[in-house]
Symmetry: none
Subunit: 214 residues, 4 copies
DNA sequence: GATGAATGAGGCTTCATTCAT
DNA sequence: GATGAATGAAGCCTCATTCAT
């Protein structure tokens, strides 16, 4: 029974995970619902027991993943006792670490979120708003301490920082790293996405940032 | 005669302009070729005299607009005699000014470019590569002068800056500014996209940047 | 239940039968897939659950019908105990009887097979090859017995005989016989396609063939 | 002037010749009018100065080629002073020689005539009727002499013979002869279409036919 | 007469969604 | 709940034909 209901409860998750992979692979529009079903190991119709329609599947995926991202960020930031700029660094590093660990999720959040901003506007996007609010708060605090230029509206600065992270994620995700070393500069080398966190901090902070690396 | 031949030569341009508006309005996938044709005032089949298919229409639109953007940027930057950071500011300001003046183009370049990174990878994107190369050059020069942190690979910094611009453009474009004043904070206020250029510069430059506003 | 499962299993057959009628009526190219669907009493999309595309529908129809023809011919010939020329007569008579009984099938096999020889070449046509092989075997046996001129390569003779049958079928099928008597020579009279079997035999056999008519 | 008008008069012929090649290459339905125009070296619209529409182009091609065929056959047969069976042999041999010399024409007459029997019925086909009448006359004469079985209605026998010729032509035309010798039986060898004339005669004549080969 | 850019009707096909089992 | 065969709306694209030059 427990196993059964667990499997049943799992089904929604399995579908979301499948959708993540399929959307990452083909893009939302090119992806077929039946492909998601196949990847999830369920029948086409089953998807409609858990989601209203294809759009809802994408929306739900966003909400779900952004929720996880926000939770991870909150947890990580809460642990930092140092000044706001260090919390910001942690925020950024954690985000990019997630991108590194979950490239499919990153691809969906980055590319598909973007392309579907169109219909995201209609559905609103509370989790993303939350993300920006948190980031804006960290920025404002860092501005108070004089670590970031205070002349910039913090919500705009938050947007800018998100833009950097998003673009880094995109560039990193789209660079298909050949297994092993890469042939003499044939393709752009896949840079270290996690290290990039420090680059972001050093780009935007006015002082030489205190390093607290592993 | 002049009118006629101008119109004839214009037809490709008219279709591109129509596609720009339609794609900006509905998004690439939701847009119908027949809508583009109607907007351009031509028959459906006429589109296929100038473009191989719907994809090619999008690709061509990118190339064309990015070419214009690059040309405008080159011209604007060439006029600046000051230090690299001032050239960079001009680059950024010009870019955001273009976003401001051509919101439809910005929407397509920003949203649709993103969502179609998928198939942009296949078609390559020489003009965008050019854009990044120019930006990277300016960054490197500014780094040499000590105006931007030199520890960041310039091509990564260029990506980050582009990310900021892109996100600013996106946020600005998607905020439907109600004509006239906006109802008490109901919607996020449409910030001044052009002024944002200075914010970008002040965010990333290590010294108080010299203002050279109009 | 029986009816239902029968119908379900039948669906492919129903579509083939509908295609046969529609193709015979309008010709392959002029026929619309949606007409076939309507004739079969299914939705347009259903066709594509059973066939890859319109071409595949035609190909499958050929294969299916030729298979039936070959089976009928084999059965009929196997019953004949007489000399090869009698088997050959049975082969021919059976074929023309099928044409008589299934004019739509005949029309498709005769006309559309021909017109699509173009793309039949690409798909091969094993059943037709089988048909020719069987016919060639009978011819060779009859040549051994001296009933047919032995100087002709048997596979070429088989082709010739098929050509006669095909042309007879075509001429017969295309002659729209008005019901009842025909107006004084206005239209070519629809000859007796089954009797024509004997004419074929008497045309090609060197001796007065033994008649074994009904 | 003469040259000019000759060229102008030629244009219709050039278009017919182009249509013959294009139809033979792609089939009537798959062939595009613009391809015919390109092959003929004229503009698309020019075709419509000489032909009512695409169908008319095919019809005219038939008429024209069948006329030439009939003329050639009449001339050849008129030279033969021997018995009807020899005239018949000449008729057949001449026809197959034409197939050999003009494979494109043969392909159109054979394949496209067949597939378009559909709309040929509507347009009638006087030249083909003429062909059959001539052939029927020769058959009847040969029957009178006892060289061909007299029990067969001569117009049906004519059909049969035409069927043989048509099928031989088709088989021969569709066998893409590999340049040079052919790999050990990989493809059916391209038989000698002209020699096949004698095979036809020996298949249908009751006596050992007098050979009058070159 | 000749051109060929433009037209636009119409078909093949896809795929999100439903619903009988 | 789960299935997956069936549906049918809708869009991309082709290409025969026209007509202004």
């Amino acid at each position: 029974m427990t196993v059964h209901s667990a499997q049943a409860g799992d089904k929604r998750e399995r579908i979301l995970a499948a959708a993540e992979r399929i959307f990452a692979r083909h893009g939302f529009f090119a992806a077929k619902v039946s492909d998601v079903a196949k990847e999830a190991g369920v029948a086409d119709g089953t998807i409609y027991l858990y989601f209203k329609n294809k759009d809802d599947l994408l929306i739900s995926l966003f909400e779900n993943r952004m929720q996880q991202v926000n939770a991870a960020l909150r947890t990580a930031v809460a642990k930092v006792k140092g000044p706001p700029i260090d919390q910001l660094r942690t925020f950024i590093r954690t985000y990019l670490q997630l991108v590194h660990d979950e490239p499919a999720a990153a691809e969906v959040l980055t590319i598909e979120l973007r392309q579907s901003s169109k219909f995201m506007k209609e559905y609103e996007n509370p989790e993303f708003a939350d993300f920006l609010r948190t980031l804006g708060g960290l920025v404002a605090a860092a501005q108070d301490k004089g670590d970031i230029d205070g002349g910039i509206p913090s919500h705009v600065a938050a947007r800018m920082i998100f833009g950097m992270l998003d673009e880094l994620a995109l560039a990193w995700v789209l660079t298909k790293q050949p297994l092993g070393g890469n042939a003499a500069g044939a393709r752009p080398k896949k840079f270290d996405i996690v290290r990039a966190a420090d680059w972001v901090i050093s780009l935007i902070s006015r002082h030489v940032a205190s390093k607290e690396q592993e």
